[in-house]
Amino acid sequence: MSTTHVESAIRIRDVTKIFGPAPLEALTALRGGMSKAELQAQTGHVVGLDQVSLEVAKGQIHVVMGLSGSGKSTLIRHVNRLIEPTAGEISVYGANVLEMSLEQLREYRRTRVAMVFQKFGLLPHRSVVDNVAYGLEVRGVRKLEREAEARKWIEIVGLAGYENARPRQLSGGQQQRVGLARALALDTDILLMDEAFSALDPLIRSGMQDQLVSLQKTLNKTILFITHDFDEALKIGDRVAVLKDGAVQQEGPPEEIVLNPANEHIEEFVRDVNKARAIRVRTIMETGPSEPCSIAVPADARCEDVLPLFAEHQWVGVLDASGAQIGRVTARRVIGALARHGARNPSVSTPALETV
C-alpha cells in the first residue's frame, strides 16, 4: 500500500504519560532504567503510556487496539488534550497541540477534532436535536442554522423521528448514533472514537461498524478509533496499532498483523481471529496473464467476500482501481491461504508455544 506519500493528519511522537503526584521525577527514574513495576511499587506512579509514537494519515481509519489497562483510552485523550502528556510531542496538521493556550485549545476542540465516547456522554436534560447541535452551539452557530444541520445528521444516522426524544428514551445503539451525529455535525476532519461501539450489542455493533465504514467512504474523515476488539479493528481499520502496557507492540495494515504477528501477545489475538476477514485477495491472487473471468472483485476485497462466489464460479478475477483484471483466485487458493496462516506462523516458531 502506498501510505508513504499520504499527508499525515495526527502525529504523536514519543508520548509518555505517568500518573501520580510527581510525574517528572518518576519519568527521570523510568529513563534511568527503573522498570514500570518497580516504579509503581516504590513511588506509586503508574506509567500510562511509554514513548508511544503514532502517525495517522489523512482520510484513514486508524485503529488502536488493546486490552483494558493498555493505555488506549489515555492515548486518544492526548490528541485533544483531555489528558496532558508528561513528555512527548503531538501535532495535528503541523500545529503543535501542546503549545496551544487554553483559549486556542478550546478553539481547536470546537473546530478541528470531534469525539465519540464509549459511555456516550449525552446531555440527559436536552432533546436529541439539541444534543446533536451541542458542538455547533458551543462554536457559536445560530440556532436555526445549527438545528437544520443537526436534523440533517440525525437523518443520516437513521434517527429521523426521534428529534425531540430525550437520550434516556433511546436504546444504547440509538444513543450512540446520537453521539456519532453530534461529532459528525461539527464537520471536523478528525474524528476521535473512544470504544464507541463497545457498549453495544454484537448485532447493533456490526451495523454501526458498517455504517461508519460507508460514512467514511463518502465523508473521507480521518478517524482514530480505539477498541479492545481485534475483529472490529480488522473490519474497519486501514491501519492497526496494537497497544500493551502503554507501548505500541506492532503497527501496520491489518493483514500484516494477522500474517506476521510481531510477538506472542499479538499471536494470541490472531489465533482467534476471523482470518477470512483480515486477508485481502490482493495478497493471495495468482498474477500473470489470464483470460478475463466471468465474475471479479476489487483488489482490496476480503477473502470472506469472495468465498460465497465460489459456489457458482471456479475462478474469480481481481481488478485494480481502474477496473482492469490484474489477477485471479480460486477457492483452493483462498482455503490454502486461510489454512496456512492458521496452522503455523512464520515469525514465531517456538515449541514452547505449543506446550502452552
Binding site: R106, G121, L123
Partner: protein, 290 residues
C-alpha cells in the same frame, strides 16, 4: 475536678469586651448593612398581607396542581390553608411565611455560589465544611445573643439567626449535586471546547438542579423550625403565638399555633418536593434524593 491550668477569666473578659467594642463602634454600620434584609422581609410580608386570602389559597392550590397534576396535593394544600384561616391564624401565618421566604431567598443567593465554589476546590471545601458544621451544631442561643446585642431586638436578628441555621444544607447539597454530575458528560462537554462557565451553566447546574432543589426544600423546613426561637427576639407570627401560649399557660393557643407551623411546613415541603420529582423525571436522573 479538672485542675485549673490557666486562668480563663481574662479570655472571657477579652471576648466580652471585644463584643462590647463592636456594638458601640460598629453597631450602626452593621445595622445599615443588614437593612436590605429588613426591606426584603418587610416587602414580602406587606405583599402577603395585602393579597386577599382567597387569592393566596387559589395560587398555592394551583401551584400544587401544576407540580403534581393530581388532586391529592392540591386538596391537602386547600384543607391546610383553610385550617389556618378558620383558626384565626392567617395573619400570623403570613408573617411566618414571609420570614421563611426571606430567609430562603437570602440563603439561595448566598449558598448556591458558595456551593459552586466548594465543588471546584478541595481546599475551599476543607475550609467551609467545619464552618457549616459549626453553623448547624452551635446552639442557636449562642449566636442569638451577640446578634441581638449588635442589631437590637427585632426582625433583623431573627432573620439572621434563621439564615445561619437554614443555609448550610443548601450549601452542602449544591456542592454534592455539582460534584456528582456524571464525569462522562462533563468530559464530553470539555471535548467540545466549552469553557468552565459554559460547563457550569449548561451542564452542571441543570443536572444538579434536583439536588439543589432538595437543598432548598431542606432550607425552608429548617427556617420554619426556627420560627419559635426567632419570635423570642422580635419576629412576630405563629412563633410568637406559641411563645405567648407557653408564657400564659394557654395550652390551646400554643397547640393551635404550633399546628399552624406544622401545616405551613407540610404545604411548602410537599410543593417543593413535587417540583423536585418533576424535574428529576424531566432530566432523567433516576436516583431519588431526599
Amino acid at each position: 475536678m479538672f485542675p485549673e491550668l490557666i486562668d480563663t477569666r481574662p479570655l472571657r473578659r477579652g471576648v466580652d469586651d471585644a463584643l462590647g467594642w463592636v456594638v458601640t463602634n460598629w453597631g450602626s454600620a452593621f445595622e445599615a448593612a443588614a437593612r436590605p434584609l429588613l426591606l426584603l422581609l418587610n416587602a414580602i410580608e406587606a405583599l402577603l398581607l395585602a393579597t386577599p386570602w382567597w387569592l393566596i389559597i387559589i395560587l398555592l392550590t394551583g401551584i400544587a396542581w401544576f407540580a403534581t397534576r393530581r388532586w391529592t396535593l392540591p386538596a391537602t394544600v386547600l384543607v391546610s390553608l383553610l385550617f389556618l384561616g378558620v383558626m384565626e391564624l392567617w395573619k400570623d401565618a403570613m408573617s411566618t411565611t414571609a420570614l421563611m421566604l426571606a430567609a430562603t431567598l437570602t440563603a439561595i443567593v448566598v449558598s448556591v455560589p458558595v456551593g459552586v465554589w466548594m465543588s471546584r476546590s478541595t481546599r475551599v471545601r476543607g475550609v467551609f465544611t467545619p464552618v457549616l458544621d459549626l453553623m448547624q451544631t452551635l446552639p442557636s442561643f449562642v449566636y442569638l445573643i451577640p446578634t441581638v446585642m449588635i442589631f437590637g431586638p427585632g426582625k433583623i436578628p431573627a432573620l439572621i439567626a434563621t439564615i445561619i441555621y437554614a443555609a448550610p444544607p443548601l450549601v452542602r447539597l449544591t456542592d454534592l449535586g455539582l460534584r456528582s454530575v456524571d464525569p462522562a458528560v462533563m468530559e464530553a462537554s470539555r471535548a467540545f471546547g466549552t469553557n468552565p462557565t459554559q460547563r457550569l451553566l449548561g451542564v452542571q447546574i441543570p443536572l444538579a438542579l434536583p439536588t439543589i432543589l432538595a437543598g432548598i426544600n431542606q432550607t425552608t423546613m429548617m427556617a420554619l423550625a426556627m420560627v419559635v426561637i426567632a419570635s423570642m427576639i422580635g419576629a412576630g407570627g405563629l412563633g410568637y403565638q406559641v411563645l405567648q401560649g407557653i408564657g400564659r399557660l394557654e395550652v390551646s393557643r400554643g397547640l393551635f399555633a404550633g399546628l399552624g407551623i406544622v401545616v405551613l411546613a407540610i404545604v411548602f415541603d410537599r410543593i417543593t418536593q413535587a417540583f423536585g420529582r418533576q424535574l428529576q423525571t424531566r432530566i432523567g436522573v433516576s436516583e431519588v434524593r431526599a
